[in-house]
């Protein structure tokens, strides 16, 4: 039989409120101590708390819900389809809100970067520019344009709305499409030097972060080379979008770590405002530890805003010291 609840009706509103928060465990420590003192001396308050606790326990099971994996997978598939539709619509004409918002959010980040870093980027980008001289496509397109023509058309603004499509995932075939007075389509493989150079150009120059991201993703499948390395370094040091910087950095990690990559990684580690990008740079340095990175690691170990990065820098330093000690023992033997 339910207890008589009228006993609690004479309790003040403040006490009733405290009783509700008490059963939710939402009182502060002093409030809880005071309330429990009052509880001991008031049977009506005790009855109210019992009723509230009973109500809470009554509601727990009927309101509990745990979706099954199958249900969630079905919803994920549906969501994937709906988002693909949204993305396709975005590519067909209007700019998707996500992109325009990303642009608004990410652009100010660039201005926060260190001036020294920006100067280095410009120098590296200039150096890269000297390598990017375009030769005719090895696989001619239906319309006979040389890649030099294409880049010239992009630079002059004659071509717009450039899109990249992967036509052969296994062999790295891509199609580049752009809007002109007439449509222009160029096909080729990712190993084609001229196609790579168009991708380099887009990664370093296109204002749309989506296209820069597509370019960096496609470059992942192209063969490694010095030009590619320099373009990726330039992107890591200069792109305003941290996601693109991170992707470029991951690709740099697949190269043999030389002095140029190490110096770029050190700059990123010391100056990039994004923690994930700094972590990526630290991973590159950890894979190729040399004595010249020790001062920077010490600074990071003490000064980085992120606890994980500080700790990881400390671990790398310790590992380096252990290796050095082991080498000394081996040499003395």
């Amino acid at each position: 039989m339910p207890k008589n609840i009228s006993a609690s009706e004479n309790i003040s509103k403040i006490k009733r409120e405290q009783a509700a928060l008490y059963v939710f465990n939402a009182l502060t420590e002093p409030e809880r101590i005071n309330f429990e003192t009052a509880l001991k001396s008031s049977p009506a308050l005790k009855t109210l708390v019992d009723e509230l606790e009973s109500t809470l326990s009554l509601t727990a099971d009927p309101l509990e819900y745990t979706p099954s994996d199958i249900e969630l997978q079905g919803q994920r598939n549906l969501l994937r389809g709906r988002l693909e539709q949204i993305i396709t619509q975005g590519n067909k004409g209007f700019k998707s809100p996500a992109w325009s918002a990303a642009g608004r959010y990410l652009t100010p980040l660039f201005s926060l970067r260190q001036p020294a870093l920006v100067v280095s980027c410009i120098i590296i980008a200039f150096a890269v520019g000297t390598f990017v001289d375009f030769k005719p496509l090895s696989t001619p397109a239906a319309e006979t344009y040389s890649s030099a023509d294409i880049v010239e058309l992009i630079e002059s603004g004659t071509l717009s709305n450039i899109t990249l499509e992967e036509t052969d995932k296994n062999n790295g075939g891509i199609r580049l499409a752009a809007e002109k007075t007439q449509n222009l389509n160029v096909s080729g493989g990712l190993s084609d030097e001229s196609i790579q150079k168009v991708l380099f150009y887009l990664l370093l120059n296109d204002a749309n972060p989506g296209k820069r991201l597509r370019a960096v993703e496609l470059l992942k499948k192209s063969p490694p080379g010095n030009d590619k390395k320099l373009v990726l370094i330039s992107s890591v040091l200069s792109d305003s979008n941290s996601g693109i910087r991170l992707k470029a950095l991951h690709q740099l990690g697949t190269f043999e770590i030389d002095k140029t990559i190490r110096e770029a990684a050190l700059k990123v580690l010391l100056e990039d405002e994004n923690e994930a990008v700094r972590m990526g740079a630290l991973a590159i340095l950890a894979n190729s530890p040399t004595q010249d990175i020790i001062p920077a690691l010490r600074v990071v170990n003490l000064m980085d805003d992120n606890q994980y990065i500080r700790d990881r820098a400390g671990e790398i330093l310790s590992e380096m010291e252990d290796l050095a000690a082991a080498d000394r023992i081996e040499a003395s033997n």
Binding site: M1, P2, K3, I5, R16, E17, A20, L21, V23, F24, A26, E51, L52, S54, T55, L56, L58, T59, A60, D61, P62, L63, E64, Y65, T66, P67, L72, Q75, R76, L78, L79, R80, R82, L83, E84, I86, I87, S96, P97, A98, W99, A101, A102, R104, Y105, L106, P209, G210, L213, N241, S242, G243, I244, L246, K247, N274, E275, A276, M279, Y308
Partner: protein, 185 residues
């Protein structure tokens, strides 16, 4: 926030749809549970899940790492739920799902006349929860079912902590009143 989550968010912000789907897979169990607790109906919960994640996708660039990612998703889910309710004339919310209530002979069993019958209690609790005003229901679900702190609830609902406490108090008063018949069941 885990670094893995952070990296996925950054990649999603750069337009990587696969990274966004990885984030969905990390958090959608919580979101579906919350959606069901708010709507008390599976069909509506699924609609809310879809709309909330589409909104999250469109707005992910606005996420600035100032809160946990799931808190941000909760806020989107709750705001989407409020919008859906506001468009009630266009968007018809279903009655709460009550197990066994569709059974045409269930009322004939002797058990169903017992006020402590599990189905009856379940039905009463769900109706009582549905009858709570939206903000009281939200605060109650976030506190009681999701075990969040008052500060987190205030952040998600974009209100003061004192207001959250008021909502919880009022929700408890109403539930106690509506369910007094079943107390100590």
């Amino acid at each position: 926030m885990k670094s893995e989550t952070k990296i996925l968010i950054i990649e999603a912000q750069a337009g990587d749809a696969n990274a966004f789907h990885d984030l969905v897979a990390m958090f959608d169990g919580k979101i579906m549970t919350l959606a069901y607790q708010l709507t008390q109906n599976k069909q509506d919960a699924e609609d809310l899940y879809q709309e909330a994640f589409i909104k999250a996708y469109k707005n992910i660039s606005k996420f600035r790492f100032q809160s946990e990612f799931y808190t941000w998703l909760y806020r989107i889910t709750i705001n989407t739920f409020y919008n859906m309710k506001r468009k009630l004339s266009k968007y018809h919310f279903q009655e709460p799902d009550i197990k066994g209530t569709n059974d045409p002979v269930s009322h004939l069993s002797d058990e169903s006349h017992n006020p402590q019958n599990a189905h009856e209690i379940q039905s009463a609790v769900k109706n009582a929860a549905q009858n709570l005003p939206l903000k009281q229901r939200t605060a109650f679900m976030l506190k009681h079912m999701q075990n969040l702190k008052i500060r987190e609830i205030a952040n998600i609902m974009d209100i003061g902590e004192g207001t959250v406490k008021k909502y919880l108090f009022r929700a408890m008063e109403k539930l106690r009143d509506e369910l007094k018949e079943y107390q100590y069941a």
